[in-house]
Amino acid sequence: MKSAYELIDVTYTYPNAQKPAVENLTLKIEAGKTTALLGPNGAGKSTIMDLLLNWKQCERGTIKLFGESLTNYSRRSLGRVVSLVPQEELSRFSFTVLDYVLFGRSPYLHHLATPSTADIAIAKEALKMVALEALIERPVLALSGGEHQLVLLARALAQQPKVLLLDEPTSSLDPGNTAKVLNIMERLSNEGITLLFTTHDPTIAGECADNVAMLKESRLLISGPKKEVLTQQLLCELYGTPLETIQVGERLIVMRST
């Protein structure tokens, strides 16, 4: 198994905090697969994202990306390999959708440069991937919540990443938009992009992840193929209430036990 990310005994404590937010975490993120970081709020999922982006630096342990220590990547070179789809983002200015997606080209652009026609072509391609090419002139402030999430996804794709990090990609979406986002994630995975997303919803993890890493109170409970992780016993331990799964094709559906 080839890993995209490899975390070795990683610990991070917030300034002035009593307890670490991430403690002795050792985890491999398989390249080309989709991995879910599953856990309740406060389990340390967002902190792990921050560490993977080198936005925060771990106080102990090392993180490797494609075999190379994360600290050896420059900010720009990291931006060309890894991109982030934030959970939500609020701009106060009515940029057009195309302008907004073009911001994703910044790791490739010189400080004084403005996007070229090649960049615009890449941005349009990314918008096509999320089926929003009809909206390129629309102001971002006029978009619906679902469309906005897709624009953030397109912007991350404009970075042409090998690894895509998604922070709670579906938590604020209705079922229709959730299905759209999951379909796009599946297509990206088929194209060979490594996907890693956080979620507090085991159903989403069971729907579209290959592997699941289960986190509880700053520690890793277990990680592995979803069938081994999303078991009745482990789900019960994580959420403190009886849950079971049924398998439908490749998908696992999580429901409460009756």
Partner: protein
């Protein structure tokens, strides 16, 4: 070249020595300063708004203008030269900005923007109070008059010497900002997201904040408090050219220059005594503000 002297209306600089003197040595430097100052104020407002991802900020909101006013007034009272006045204005403008920032981090109430604005109001009030004290102790026959007129904002005592003292700084900063204009957009993004796009967000924010502040304090040090330009002109520019700083930033500079030149010309030509520029820009700016914000309900700029 419009003006009231030697007679109201246009003056032809090629008609006699007096006309030439009036136009070339009195009106021309003033015109250039108005254009550069307007461009700088509008640019600074634009940069602040992008940086704080908030269309309602301008340097004045974070105490920069009041700090600069305090610094300049202190230097005037102590009889400093033009250069000292400018340095003092820049120093206290920056000090106010840094204090607002520091204070906002200490507050525990409200979100980041609210804390920043509250801190800015507090620092602004502090420096305004300091300014009042300076006015109390200033000599009523000389420096008090200077300070009072200067506070109302105006370019009436502009000479080539004043212009030269601030022009290089302003031109360099304006050109730098024009070169970096697409990048200014990225500063409005969430900091973690910007970082994930390979942007050294804290460093870039600090640099552009510094440039915008120095440009603001430069014009304040020679022209006094000229309000509302930094708030209202960027809005107008975004309405006309869209939100993308690639077009809206140059547009903002251009509109700012035009706005201040026109205001200054009206201010000195309309009545027999001059209307202070700051009074005029506040009047027009506040009116425009009301029109822009009340005119189109629900449409954000």
């Amino acid at each position: 070249m419009v003006g009231r002297y030697p007679k109201a209306g246009f003056s032809n600089p090629f008609k006699g020595e007096l006309m030439r003197q009036v136009v070339l040595n009195v009106r021309l430097p003033r015109l250039l300063l108005a254009a550069l100052g307007g461009a700088s104020l509008a640019m600074a407002g634009f940069v602040f708004q992008m940086l704080f991802n908030n269309p309602l900020v301008e340097p004045g909101f974070l105490g920069v203008s009041q700090g600069a006013a305090f610094g300049a007034a202190a230097a005037i009272t102590l009889g400093g030269s033009l250069l000292v006045v400018q340095l003092s204005a820049s120093f206290f403008g920056l000090l106010a900005l840094l204090s607002s920032y520091w204070l906002a981090r200490k507050f525990t109430y409200g979100g980041w923007i609210l804390r920043l604005v509250l801190a800015g109001i507090a620092m602004g009030a502090l420096f305004s109070a300091g300014l009042s004290i300076i006015k109390l102790v200033a000599s009523p026959t000389t420096s008090l008059q200077d300070i009072t007129f200067w506070m109302m904002g105006g370019l009436w005592n502009t000479t080539w010497k004043t212009l030269w003292s601030v022009m290089p700084t302003m031109i360099i900063i304006l050109l730098l900002l024009l070169l970096f204009r697409w990048r200014i957009n990225l500063l409005s993004l969430d900091e973690r997201t910007a970082h994930s796009m390979g942007i050294a967000i804290n460093r870039e924010k600090a640099i552009f904040l510094l440039l915008a502040t120095v440009a603001t304090t430069s014009i304040i040090s020679v022209g006094g408090l000229i309000g509302w330009v930094g708030l209202i002109i960027p809005h107008l520019a975004r309405r006309l050219f869209g939100a993308n700083a690639r077009y809206a930033l140059p547009g903002s500079m251009l509109l700012g220059a035009i706005f201040l030149v026109v205001s200054d010309t009206i201010g000195r030509a309309l009545l027999s005594s001059e209307i202070p520029l700051g009074v005029l820009t506040s009047l027009v700016g506040a009116l425009l503000f009301v029109i822009l914000f009340a005119g189109k309900r629900g449409k954000r700029v």
